[in-house]
């Protein structure tokens, strides 16, 4: 869709479908053409079921012809990170462990999209089991950043971000445990939202760290993200941690809520390690809000320096427990080397998991093991309380916080693969929100001198996504960063 359709927003495509200027089948074919034209270089997709996509599009056209379109997203293609189950589709999680797995049921978020009439469009690449910040931990392929194919797209939802940034699909879903939606959105120059923990059901989202994981949307605009969020938000009996809360009309709220807002700037997010070009762009964004009449206050989140440590204890501990299910017995790869039942576990896991997953399972097992539990896991949970309290204190003074999303622009492929700790520090501005359960959105706020996108992270109060998205939307509509696209 080099053509007129690539890079159009879901809202624009939705209007054209409603006006019968094109059919859902034509739109799906245009997206397929863009994938064919660009994915040899981008490698965003792990699989794509063309026949199924076109069948969904035909059903959408039939509904529309009968005057029964289900939502503004009816007929709009949505890509899914390969960690969200869709019945009868693959679900590899970027792992050899699940190479042949076919989902027997739909994730609740996938069902939400189906109920809205969206066309579920392909399975998007990711770091294995969502562990990583560059998508280089996929067992299958390395996704490229569409702005510079020698660089990584971020991770772990790198395929979901790159597919939107490359104009292959207008919107997509990812998952965010420590920054896996916001960081790739920032590095690929698009909008990505991690909702409040519990806003979206995790049923059918393959678990990494259950107390931190959350599904969320990517799009070119805040409006597209709001429209997509609408279809997947809400309580679900199948996930007892999903919250009973009223779901507002997120798209309508963008126009209704106009500020001015009180916005906090946490000083701990502007220290050492922040690249100068990122600092400059984020400071300009802060200045813009001030010029609009928003009150800007410096705030302090004093326990920020402990966040990465607490996160890598809690996340790996939960992962070591969650990933125990991949045992070679019921639905995974089974090693041919095994001779007895216990041996099956050891060898199937050795063959099925890649290095980063093994590393995190070992770390998580270690911090939970007898004698170390209190010193590591117990202490990390207490620090989590302190980190959360920092945010709640700040939100007594301000409506939202403004920070960089990522300390740097997209780095080169291979640059950090040899040093896991350095890779972990790529999440330094995003992981606190997962520990605190808060919503955060990354919106494009500039480009580095070499033309790489920079993202502004806006942090909201729990379950106040409508306000958060309105704050992001106000900035976006006054700037044109999101209308620039990579030359492919």
């Amino acid at each position: 869709m080099s053509s007129a359709l690539a890079f159009q927003t879901a809202a624009q495509l939705s209007d054209q479908l409603a006006a019968r200027q094109m059919s859902a089948v034509e739109l799906a074919q245009a997206c397929l053409a863009q994938v064919r034209a660009t994915d040899g270089r981008i490698n965003a997709f792990l699989s794509l079921d063309e026949a199924d996509i076109l069948a969904q599009a035909r059903e959408s056209d039939a509904r529309r012809a009968a005057g029964q379109a289900r939502s503004p997203l009816d007929g709009v293609p949505v890509g899914l990170k390969d960690v969200i189950a869709v019945r009868n589709q693959p679900l590899t999680c970027g792992s050899r462990m699940l190479e042949k797995f076919v989902s027997p049921y739909d994730a609740t978020a996938a069902l939400g999209l189906k109920n809205a009439g969206a066309v579920l469009f392909g399975r998007l690449n990711m770091d294995e089991f969502a562990m990583g910040s560059s998508t280089e931990n996929s067992a299958y392929k390395t996704t490229a950043n569409p702005w510079d194919t020698s660089r990584i797209p971020g991770g772990s939802s790198g395929g979901s971000a790159a597919a939107v940034a490359a104009g292959q699909v207008p919107v997509s879903l990812g998952s965010d445990t420590g920054g896996s939606i916001r960081q790739p959105a920032s590095l690929c120059g698009i909008v990505g939202l991690k909702p409040t923990y519990g806003l979206i059901s995790r049923y059918g989202l393959v678990a990494y760290a259950s107390s931190l994981d959350q599904i969320g949307p990517f799009g070119h605009t805040v409006e597209d993200v709001a429209m997509t969020l609408q279809t997947i938000a809400g309580h679900d009996e199948k996930d007892s941690t999903s919250f009973r809360t009223e779901i507002p009309d997120y798209r309508a709220a963008l126009a209704q809520r106009r500020g001015p807002w009180k916005l906090g700037v946490p000083k701990e997010y502007f220290g050492e390690g922040l690249a100068p070009e990122v600092r400059a762009s984020v400071e300009q964004a802060i200045a813009w809000y001030r010029a609009q009449g928003c009150e800007i206050r410096e705030v302090s989140l004093p326990h920020t320096e402990y966040a990465v440590s607490a996160y890598y204890i809690i996340a790996t501990a939960e992962a070591s427990s969650n990933l125990a299910r991949y045992d070679g017995i019921r639905y995974t790869h089974r090693s041919a080397k095994s001779t007895d039942a216990i041996d099956i576990y050891h060898h199937s896991r050795a063959e099925g998991f890649g290095p980063e997953v093994k590393r995190r399972i070992i770390l998580g097992t270690y911090v939970l093991s007898s004698g170390y539990y209190d010193a590591y896991y117990g202490r990390a949970q207490k620090v989590r309380t302190l980190i959360r309290q920092d945010f709640l204190d700040a939100f007594r003074e301000v409506d939202a916080l403004l920070t960089p999303t990522s300390p740097t622009v997209a780095f080169k492929k291979g640059e950090k693969t040899a040093n896991p700790l350095e890779m972990y520090l790529a999440d330094i501005f995003t992981i606190s929100l997962n520990l605190a359960g808060l919503p955060g959105v990354s919106v494009p706020c500039g480009f580095s001198p070499e033309g790489l996108p920079i993202g502004l992270q806006i942090v909201g109060r729990p379950f106040q996504e409508a306000e958060l998205l309105a704050i992001a939307h106000a900035y976006e509509r006054a700037h044109d960063f999101n209308t620039k696209h990579p030359a492919l």
Binding site: K100, L386, L438
Partner: protein, 97 residues
Amino acid sequence: MPDTPNNVDIDYVASLARLALTPEEKATFSRQLGDVLAYIEKLKQADVSGVEPTAHAFDVHNVWAADVPAPGLSVEDALRNAPAQRDNMISVPKVVE
């Protein structure tokens, strides 16, 4: 913390995790985990006296569901991903002699 970094008993931890590691993996992971654990030592500096642990960001209480039978996965769906099966069951090597 009770341990100085770099002395993770990798064989013991790998056996707890039911994960066969090659000698190369053991060497690499020991070194890398030593680096990560050294970094995590920072947590020692946080004053957590009197602080309650957080398991979940929001209060999650036990959720009761009505005990009503409902259809689950069909046998076919439940077995479609099994690495080996026989007579509607997952087959595994002999567990008891």
